[in-house]
Amino acid sequence: MREENLIVSVWRGDGEQGEYVDYRVPREESQTVLDVVTYIQRKIDPTLSYRFSCRVGMCGSCAMTVNGKPRWTCRTHVSKVAPDGKLSVGPLRIMNVVKDLSVEMSDFFEKWVRAEGRFHPTKTRYDDFDAIKPADNKRKIASAGIECIGCGICYSGCDVVAWKAEYLGPAALNRAWTLVNDVRDGGQIARLNAIAGDAGCHACHSQQGCVENCPKHLNPTASIAGLKRVTAFAALKGGLK
């Protein structure tokens, strides 16, 4: 273990008022940004607020803005982001700040629902499973986007979301695309209507902040491109309401 300190600037305050406050945190060999934040709360300033749950990259609760970029803090090793020993940690942009580093995510999830990002069943619990081959093209497309942890990193890194409050955003649209390719789903028309238009996929300018920052290496840009094609041709044929 090295006898060094990290200089960490942490946002203290709510969404409107606050400031970055500096703390010195001992540098450790195996140290994630979440560990740094935890250290401050446990040993320096117990009033610091932040959110986490699983601590291994599964729940998507711990996303913060680290040195300017949105990241999952539980799996961001300090050596990767702060080779110079300086770290700034703030709440995710765009989301409402509860306090310090913890944000509220209801807009994010409400948009998920608004994008029809949920399954519409055509069968029941008393029916058997659909036989879907893993090699089927649609199944492959659905699988490619399905492991989203809902961390909101893509959302927070997209300027269109910042510019257009009603834009559904990359995560919700990515989920919708997996469903568009889900042959079991019975809600396709409603979904296309939900995700078309200027609050939906057509607002995306392929900025690709989402792909760039998604910790799960998902590709919302490609998913949204798929939605754009499908909906635009549906619109051409008058298939949208």
Binding site: A196, D198, G200, H205, T231, A232, A234, A235, L236, K241
Partner: protein, 119 residues
């Protein structure tokens, strides 16, 4: 009956992309010709010689103008909606004016060239 808002949005998006395909071809041809044309200086008579009264060129530039008039205002519309606080109705109006303006000035020019020799 007028189509719904999302129907319109989706179609506008498609119109912009289709016009972009047209423009892509058009601009490549245009760029090649201007690079070729400016070689050794440019004069009015040269341009007129090349383009004036040639139905092919007139059609080409005619299509180009229409494509631009579709493409650019839809692009500007997105920008104005995202980056200014103008209401979307104002933006639509502005962009409609821009589209009309582009068509009128553009086609007027193309026609003028066409009539040079023909007329």
């Amino acid at each position: 009956m007028s189509a719904s808002k999302i129907q319109v949005e989706a179609r506008l998006w498609l119109a912009q992309r289709l016009s972009a395909f047209v423009l892509a071809l058009g601009v490549i041809i245009h760029l090649v010709t201007i690079v070729y044309a400016v070689r050794g200086g440019l004069s009015a008579s040269e341009v007129v010689d090349r383009v004036g009264g040639n139905l092919g060129w007139s059609l080409f530039y005619g299509i180009f103008v229409v494509a631009v008039a579709v493409h650019a205002p839809i692009g500007l519309r997105a920008i104005l909606n995202e980056m200014t606080s103008l209401t979307s109705r104002r933006v639509d109006l502005l962009c409609f004016i821009a589209a009309t303006f582009l068509v009128v000035t553009g086609l007027r020019t193309v026609l003028a060239f066409h009539h040079l020799r023909v007329g």
